[in-house]
Symmetry: C2
Subunit: 215 residues, 2 copies
Amino acid sequence: MCDDLVIIPKATLGRLPLYLRVLNGLHHLNIQFVSSEEMAMKLGITSSQLRKDLSYFGGQGIRGTGYDVAYLLGKIKAILGVSQNWQMAIVGLGKLGTALARYPGLQQHGINVAALFDIDEAKIGWKVGELSICHLSELTEKKKELGLEIAALTVPAQAAQEVTDLIVEAGIQGIWNFAPVRLETPENVIVQYEDLVVGVLTLSHLLSRRLGKMR
Amino acid sequence: MCDDLVIIPKATLGRLPLYLRVLNGLHHLNIQFVSSEEMAMKLGITSSQLRKDLSYFGGQGIRGTGYDVAYLLGKIKAILGVSQNWQMAIVGLGKLGTALARYPGLQQHGINVAALFDIDEAKIGWKVGELSICHLSELTEKKKELGLEIAALTVPAQAAQEVTDLIVEAGIQGIWNFAPVRLETPENVIVQYEDLVVGVLTLSHLLSRRLGKMR
């Protein structure tokens, strides 16, 4: 659908999964319309911010009635690609990779964990959930067999670039990088950097303001 | 320092740790000045966005010279509370909690993992790194002893509210929540929701645009 091909600011995009969650909740409660004030309150943002965000993809509230929950839900799902399915590999089955393989939110959002890779011989063949851990040397073959499109990179920082090169060589164009390093990739590859520290720094920033804990 | 008490938009705040990383890298290379264009390129944002972000905390580039790396670094660290130290507990030592306990980025950013809690008797007394896992019933006592200010919540969704109540009761005012549920907390408690799905949905959104994978 061409009208989904809108340019949406990254900050707005970052809020969409939260919108999705709130709207899903309302939908399950059989609520058909929601006001921007009510939704903004649930999200902890201002209603003007919310209206601005929703305007990017044609969400228009009806005066006195509010936003159509099912309509917004469909729009946001389409934009986030939730109505699509993505085949994801996890590369590096340490604690974080294993936690990710078991993270229930992924499947719910159309991200299908389809293969697991490591280079540690002691791990090869072990199962996490339904999936066996394969050797990284099988990546290209498995990519073709399973149609892998995204690789979550959960390896130590010092191995990250080398493994990235293998992922790129295998033809995977989306890398979800948890290793705390910048990666060199060709232009056709998209890297999403996941930095767990951002959340706690945001929290500590808000806490310092609240507690007046300044130097 | 009172001038750190500025109101900074959340989206800007979200980018600060990234700025911190880039500036740190430049600082280690003994680079004294950086242009907004160069820094924006490294960050994958526009230079006008960058200049706007930096303007919130008084970062002013010098025409023809650029931004003072050490000055910006100091400012951003102060805002993010990096020059402070925070004592954090991790509650729930499953795969994710254990990965978090070992995550090297935390200490680097002034977040000190000071205590680990679980309710699984089989885990009590085991060590992750230097720290032993304590029973959750010791939370209030340890909070006082160690000055715990933040609790990372890495328990299953169905246990999250009950454990949150205990955290609040112990007097901890900052909760970094990884459980995929909204938490009920008193007004004096700040909850930061960590949703791992956001990153991969952002990636899949960009990939669908790139690959033209639309329904």
